[in-house]
């Protein structure tokens, strides 16, 4: 009962916050609401016994990505933004399509067949701590994607620097 209440609170807030995020006129406000949203998502992860992921969510998403967004928002000229038209084309069409897709996906949920259970039950993870369990898996079975991910990050760093550089006046 308590669990369902908790889940209900999280779900309600998350959906409400995401609606608020996409509808603000001021991009800066959007970023702030998104911060709150991410914290709630991290809370949801904790609810699902994924403490490492929750920590990563806060550190990377809320701490790094949103800060990045905020920096860029601050770089752009926003005074006129708030008074101009906010949408492209007709938003009812997009609303309609999204709603239909939502209905389609949820209708498909009825056909879900649960597969066999894996070997990482909640107790097993608790005994080993989530970080250690993830780390064991990551560095043995999923080593190759791990290395690729580090390459992607390298590309991101170099690319971002190159793209955002000003041309030298010479």
């Amino acid at each position: 009962m308590l669990q369902q209440l908790f889940f209900g609170y999280y779900a309600f807030i998350i959906i409400g916050l995401s609606l608020i995020v996409v509808t603000r006129k001021n991009p800066g406000h959007s970023v702030m609401w998104m911060l709150l949203l991410f914290f709630h998502i991290a809370g949801l992860y904790l609810f699902l016994n994924a403490e490492f992921i929750a920590a990563i969510q806060v550190i990377v998403y809320a701490g790094a990505i949103l800060v990045l967004f905020l920096f860029v928002v601050l770089l752009l000229n926003l005074r006129e933004e708030i008074t101009l038209r906010q949408t492209v084309g007709s938003w009812p069409a997009a609303f309609f399509i999204s709603a239909l897709l939502f209905i389609a996906v949820t209708a498909a949920l009825g056909a879900y067949v649960q597969g066999p259970a894996g070997k990482y039950s909640i107790d097993a993870i608790r005994s080993e701590t989530h970080a250690k369990a993830l780390g064991k898996l990551l560095y043995t079975e999923y080593l190759f994607p791990f290395e690729i991910a580090s390459l992607i990050l390298l590309v991101a760093v170099v690319g971002a620097v190159v793209l955002a550089k000003r041309k030298l006046r010479s």
Binding site: V88, G89, A94, I97, L100, L101, A104
Partner: protein, 639 residues
């Protein structure tokens, strides 16, 4: 391979060499190639003659041309008595005219082109006469028509010449259409186009009828009449005679070779070759005989009043061809071929002499401007005189024997129209003698009526031109001696020779009747000569008075019975109108242009509409993608 296959292919090789190398390398020496080739063919033809005289008949296929289901055609050669006579005629006349052309066409800028076309023509004609199946005959037929177009329109920068070439080809096409249909019917009925099987099985079809457009027609009559359509076109009989006088626009050697001795006789050759088919159809034979008779009368009357030197001889040719068809139509195929053979000599000779006269007169053709040429060109005068005696039927010369045989067999033969065509033929003999000698008297006798510069240039032609004249003259005199009729004590060797191929119709009459007929034709010939002498030598003012008195008749005859105008009105002008307004105006301008321009403009319109999808705004693309995903998910869900 039998060496007789070289007979047509040597002139073909000469054509190829001349047309490829003539302009740059051979130039003035182009004639050596052609004359060499055709002379060698002549030698081979003589060898073939001795072979056939010894009793051999040669029939061999060279290679298969097409093989499609039950239809097989090869390039093959049949050399029997009929073919060998034609071979001798074609190669002899061709060789002599090649030699004549060396002098006549000297200095012309298209010298090599002329000889290459002459060689191509010889090749086609030889393929025609040596064929052993109808399709090869048709190939040769079309080939000679094509070369006729080339050679008539040889002076292509003169509009009248190129028009005449077109006219010849197009009028021929009318006849060839019927001819082609005839070959189709032959194939449908007999299952093959080779001569041997068709002619041997023809007896089985004697009574057969075929359903044609809802009517039951006698099969043999149908085939014979369709084949005769081709002959009408090629041999310039009525109503397709209109191209031959215009064909005189070509150089004179062309007129001599093609329009006297060889191409126009292909029609007679066709009827003789298909004699088994024609013999089974009385209707067709009557049509042939009457067409021949009427055409010969028609052309002879026109020839009486013409003033163009070559046109008179052209109408004479049409008239004599009518004689040959007359002969075939009464069943006397042998006599027709005999006349073809003698006619080749004296008609070619007449044309070549006319060329000689033109050469001396600097190209002048109007006989009213000539006169008294006999003291300037004795050789030409003598040979032309002998040729005219021959065509008039003076006893002892070649024309007498062949013409007399035709008239006798017409009179005494089994044909229902025999006596009628005999009467017409005798009348035509009178007219022939008259106009031939009108020509002689006006051109060579009397006073010279031309200009002074022309008088200064009058001279006899060079040796290359007069030697062929003499050779042909010998032929015009002696060619008939191979078949002196029994009546006069001869052996009628020609008829005997052709018997295995063409049959031998005996005249059913008494000796007295035969003497009578012969006598009448001789008298009529001399009467014609006499009347011409009277009117043009003794009383030269008489022709002008007669023209005045009968001016309407004269105008009709002078304008060739207005046949050309009639055709222009009925056929030519509507065709041109249709071509301009319907075919160009509607089909070409509207329909095809609409298609050709319409397709690109439709594509352009479609693509410019399609272009508008790319707005450049990313969200529009994303919206479309989302819609796509929605559709896919919905489809998968609803299955």
């Amino acid at each position: 391979m039998n060496s007789y296959a070289l007979i047509p292919f040597l002139p073909l090789a000469a054509f190829v060499i001349n047309i490829l190398f003539g302009r740059k390398y051979l130039k003035e020496n182009a004639h050596w190639v052609s004359i060499g080739a055709v002379a060698f063919s002549w030698v081979l033809s003589v060898m073939a003659l001795t072979d056939v005289l010894g009793g051999n008949k040669i029939n061999f296929d060279l290679y298969t041309w097409m093989l499609s289901g039950g239809f097989k055609v090869s390039v093959g050669f049949l050399i029997d008595q009929l073919t060998v006579v034609m071979l001798i005629v074609v190669t002899t006349c061709s060789t002599l005219i090649h030699i004549y052309s060396v002098g006549y066409m000297h200095g012309d800028s298209g010298y090599y082109r002329f000889f290459s076309y002459l060689s191509l023509f010889t090749f086609s004609m030889l393929m025609l006469v040596m064929a052993n199946n109808f399709l090869q005959l048709y190939f040769g037929w079309e080939g000679v028509g094509l070369c006729s177009y080339f050679l008539i329109g040889y002076y292509f920068d003169k509009k009248s010449a190129s028009d005449a070439g077109k006219k010849a080809f197009i009028v021929n096409r009318f006849g060839d259409f019927g001819f082609g249909l005839g070959i189709f019917v032959i194939f449908l009925s007999f299952g093959t186009v080779y001569y041997e099987p068709v002619f041997s099985q023809v007896g089985n079809f004697a009574e057969a009828t075929v359903n044609f457009l809802g009517y039951d027609v006698h099969l043999m009559t149908l085939i014979a009449l369709l084949l005769f359509c081709g002959s009408i076109g090629k041999s310039a009989q009525m109503p397709l005679h209109v191209w031959l006088p215009d064909a005189m626009e070509g150089p004179t050697p062309v007129s001599a070779l093609i329009h006297a001795a060889t191409m126009v006789t292909a029609g007679v050759f066709l009827v003789a070759r298909c004699s088994p088919i024609f013999s089974l159809s009385e209707t067709a034979l009557m049509v042939v005989a009457l067409t021949g008779a009427i055409t010969s009368l028609f052309a002879a009357t026109i020839g009486l009043v013409q003033n163009d030197l070559k046109r008179i001889i052209a109408y004479s040719t049409v008239s004599q061809l009518g004689y040959m068809f007359l002969a075939c139509g009464v069943g006397a195929y042998t006599a027709g071929i005999f006349h073809l053979y003698t006619h080749a000599f004296f008609k070619a000779l007449l044309f070549l002499c006319a060329g000689s006269v033109m050469h001396a007169m600097g190209g002048e053709l109007d006989i009213q401007k000539m006169g008294g040429l006999k003291k300037y060109m004795p050789a030409t005068y003598l040979t032309m005189l002998i040729a005219s005696f021959s065509i008039a039927g003076v006893p002892g010369l070649a024309g007498f024997f062949s013409k007399d045989e035709i008239l006798w067999l017409a009179y005494s033969g089994p044909s229902p129209v025999g006596k009628l065509v005999w009467l017409i033929g005798t009348l035509v003999a009178f007219l022939t003698a008259f106009y031939s000698f009108r020509l002689i008297f006006l051109t060579f006798h009397g006073k010279f009526r031309g200009t002074h510069e022309q008088e200064h240039h009058l001279h006899e032609s060079p040796k290359t031109m007069t030697v062929p004249l003499v050779v042909l003259c010998v032929g015009a005199v002696a060619a008939g001696w191979v078949s002196i009729p029994h009546l006069l004590g001869g052996g009628a060797h020609f008829a005997e020779f052709m018997k295995p191929v063409l049959g031998h119709p005996e005249g059913h009459g008494t000796h007295a009747e035969e003497w009578l007929v012969m006598g009448i034709s001789v008298v009529v010939g001399f009467a014609g000569i006499g009347l011409a002498y009277f009117m043009y030598m003794l009383r030269p003012e008489l022709p002008a008075r007669v023209t005045e008195q009968f001016s309407a008749v004269h105008r009709i005859l002078f304008n060739k019975y207005y046949v050309d105008e009639l055709y222009s009105f009925i056929i030519v002008r509507p065709a041109i109108w249709t071509a301009k307004n319907v075919l160009i105006g509607i089909t070409d301008a509207r329909i095809i242009e609409a298609l050709v321009n319409g397709v690109p403009s439709a594509v352009a319109a479609f693509s410019s509409g399609l272009r508008k999808v790319q707005t450049g705004i990313m969200q529009h693309y994303a919206t479309i993608m989302a819609t796509g995903i929605l559709i896919i998910v919905a489809v998968m869900l609803l299955r």
